[in-house]
């Protein structure tokens, strides 16, 4: 059995309530943290080596140390609960089941950062989480763990819950800041970075829900202890949202020292492929990361076992590797159509592009239209190279990483499954006759 740190108490009856959470050791990490100085708390997080769980994997302690502490402006912490990446559903689960874990993590982190106002930006579609969060916040307030003069330490903090309106792009940190300010959710041009000029032009840290929740066990056990879990620079545990053609889809907490094969096959996690069908491909870290065929996801190009860690999944670069991303693990069996899947993902990015920069605004729509033709048996051979070229022209040339996130799935699908695209071109009759539910003709 892998060790559970975040989800340790998830099955306890009533754990979403303050008294039950408290009975199981809740808020003791906060009490411990308040006895340390803010810098000492940051130091623990640095020592833990924990990397941000929102997708980019940037070390959290380091991010915190970039926050401009010299400025006289107030500082802000934003908890990014906009989770909209297809294939990722861990933050929602964590908030729903363990709201107090997040609230405790927010208080500790805010204390470390010298923040007195903290926002939780909740994805618009997750309306039901807002009540849960507000209830937890009220309970923490009533018990003096939050609000004015927390536990008589003189430190005060307010947490506000803010609902998004259903835009994936508002998960990008600067778009989220704009949105919180009441503006259109367009990502900002960087520099300046939020650590210097974020919300209302004040120093701001944006962290993922899971990142902030993990601060609680880091403080409880100490950064050094936390760093011993996992392997290499992938310390601690990670929540993985497993979906696709597997027996046991769901959210799993893993220690970052197990292999992809174990995660996929063991009964503790995915429980193997549904109906025993062979594995065809895996998207390991949410829809934005490159898709890998079965042989490359289970073993690296050098024949080593691929592990569920940041480093191992990235082994081989994009030629033969991928990324851990936000931990959205999607498995595809042999019956899945990669072309259709790629079209579907591209449709998502086309729909979610904010439309600020020309490569992403125009490129995502172009790729979608070409893929839609291919999928419907109306493609031509040169469309395949065209797609690769469009994705190359978007990648790296945009304001925010959504452009890259739209380009990578297309580029990787063609890199690893070119034969399937060619099949679509060569066999329009067969492709056209496969019915996948509603196949509307694409119109602009």
């Amino acid at each position: 059995m892998g060790r559970k740190i975040l989800l340790e108490n998830i099955d306890k009856e009533g754990i979403e309530r303050f008294d039950v959470y408290r009975k199981h050791g809740g808020y003791t990490a906060l009490e411990k943290a308040l006895k340390l100085t803010p810098d000492e708390v940051t130091e623990e997080v640095k020592k833990s080596g924990m990397r941000g769980r929102g997708g980019a994997g940037f070390p959290t302690g380091m991010k915190w140390s970039f926050l401009d502490k010299k400025s006289n402006n107030p500082r802000y912490l934003i908890c990014n609960a906009d989770e909209s990446e297809p294939g990722t559903f861990k933050d929602r689960y964590l908030i729903e089941k363990l709201p107090h874990l997040l609230v405790e993590g927010l208080i500790i982190s805010s204390y470390a950062l010298g923040v007195n106002t903290c926002y939780i930006y909740v994805r618009g579609e997750f309306k039901y989480l807002i009540g849960i969060l507000n209830k937890a916040i009220c309970e923490a307030n009533a018990n003096k763990f939050l609000g004015k003069n927390i536990l008589n330490t003189g430190y005060s903090l307010d947490i506000h819950v803010h609902s998004g309106a259903g835009a994936y792009i508002c998960g990008e940190e600067t778009a989220q800041i704009e949105s919180l300010e009441g503006k259109r959710g367009n990502p900002r041009i960087k520099p300046p970075f939020p650590a210097l000029k974020g919300l209302y032009d004040c120093p701001t840290v944006v962290n993922n829900v899971e990142t902030l929740a993990a601060v609680v066990p880091i403080i409880s056990m100490g950064g050094e202890e936390y760093a011993k879990i996992g392997t290499g620079r992938s310390t601690g545990t990670k929540l993985i949202s497993a979906s696709g053609h597997i027996n046991r889809p769901g959210v799993y907490e893993i220690e970052m020292n197990i292999s992809v094969e174990e995660f996929l096959m063991s009964d503790e996690y995915c429980g193997g492929m549904k109906n025993g069908k062979p594995l065809k491909a895996v998207i390991a870290g949410g829809s934005s990361v490159p898709i890998l065929p079965a042989h490359l996801i289970l073993k690296t190009a050098n024949g080593e076992n691929r592990m569920m860690t940041y480093e191992s999944l990235a082994d081989g670069g994009f030629a033969t590797g991928t990324m851990l991303g936000s931990g959205g693990f999607i498995a595809y069996d042999e019956d899945s159509c990669i072309v259709r899947n790629t079209w579907n993902l591209t449709r998502f990015y086309h729909h979610e592009s904010c439309g600020q920069c020309s490569p992403c605004r125009e490129g995502t729509g172009w790729m979608e239209r070409v893929l839609h033709r291919l999928e419907n048996g109306e493609g031509r051979m040169h469309d395949i190279d065209l797609l690769t070229n469009i994705s190359k022209n978007i990648e790296g040339n945009t304001i925010c990483p959504l452009g890259d996130a739209a380009a990578w799935p297309v580029a990787s699908a063609i890199r690893h499954f070119r034969d399937e695209f060619e099949f679509h071109v060569k066999n329009p009759g067969i492709v056209k006759n496969i019915k996948h539910g509603s196949l509307k003709k694409y119109t602009v």
Partner: protein
């Protein structure tokens, strides 16, 4: 003050200057083209990506190259920075791709577009675009809308540079002009098709790089290259009164703001000057207006003509092209 090298030209500029502004100080062919940046509009730039350049050395302190191409209009220089614009095949290739993206949802109706001849997108594709088209899918289509009595919005042609949005926000008191929806469905709009009515609203026509916002008092009156642009002024209580009047014979067809060599408005003018003063006796003529070298209408008309620089196909380019 930081010293920066752009395409082998070195210049010293104040702290905080962007690569683009530094390049403009050097001038000539090495100035990156811009479609969204506008030096007079706060916050503009960074969107269209036509001004992408390569930073082959970040600074003297940290000489590593920047991992991606950067938007020169929104990247500040650092001391010892080395930038490549037209000397980098990678940049030219990326720019060609950007032009292609910008043209995807552009109707290419130049033969009937009032902006033809003074259109930044036309000039950009002439200099940097590919000569074949790869896009075969449908283009987005909108109806034309009138925003106020004097301005027509033709969204089909819009490249979403946001310049008009910044103009409207920065010269009007209340915010009535913005962007609706997202992605390639995004559109410029006024609040419930409100007339933009403030005394400087007409400037959105001048800042629009394409023919998406046009002057209704001038629509289809004449091709711009048949007109003679003359600098002129009048005593105006609202603006400086310094304008360009576009004449055919003795008749004034339209009035616009004066533009500098980068095709940016020098001073915003009021609607009175723009729409309501079209009699020759309204204006004191100063002399012919200088047109930017890229402008199609500058060819054959006035002095300081410059042959358009020939952009070599990428394969014929060497790293250091003089």
């Amino acid at each position: 003050m930081p010293i920066v090298t752009i395409d082998n030209h070195t210049i010293e500029v104040p702290e905080g200057t962007t690569i683009l502004e530094a390049a403009r100080k050097i001038g000539g062919d090495i100035v990156p083209p811009t479609m969204c940046y506008y030096s007079k509009l706060k916050g503009s730039g960074g969107k269209c990506r036509t001004c992408l350049v390569k930073v082959s050395q970040g600074s003297a302190k940290d000489p590593r190259p920047m991992p991606k191409l950067v938007a020169s209009c929104s990247t500040p220089v650092a001391d010892g920075m080395v930038v490549q614009n037209i000397t980098s095949p990678e940049v030219l290739e990326a720019r060609k791709a950007i032009v292609e993206f910008l043209l995807i949802n552009h109707p290419l109706d130049c033969p009937v577009c009032d902006q033809a001849g003074e259109c930044d997108l036309q000039n950009l594709s002439y200099e940097h675009g590919a000569n074949t088209e790869r896009y075969e899918e449908d283009r987005r289509e909108y109806d034309k809308v009138d925003i106020g009595p004097n301005i027509q919005l033709h969204m089909n042609r819009c490249i979403l540079c946001y310049r008009c949005v910044y103009t409207a926000n920065q010269i009007a008191n209340s915010r009535v002009h913005g962007v609706l929806y997202r992605g390639d469905q995004a559109e410029i709009s006024t609040y419930i098709q409100n007339a933009i009515d403030n005394e400087f609203s007409g400037n959105v026509i001048d800042v629009c790089p394409v023919g998406a916002l046009t002057d209704k008092t001038f629509r289809f009156k004449s091709r711009v290259w048949f007109l003679k642009p003359m600098n002129a002024h009048r005593n105006c209580t609202k603006c400086s009164g310094k304008v360009v009047v576009w004449k055919f014979g003795n008749e004034i067809y339209r009035v616009t703001a004066r533009k500098d060599q980068f095709h940016e408005v020098e001073e915003f003018i009021c609607n009175d000057c723009r729409y309501d003063h079209k009699q020759p006796e309204d204006w004191t003529i100063e002399g012919p207006a200088k047109l930017s070298k890229q402008s199609v209408i500058s060819q054959n008309q006035y002095g300081n003509l410059k042959k358009p620089s020939i952009i070599l196909p990428i394969e014929h380019r060497t790293e250091k092209q003089e």
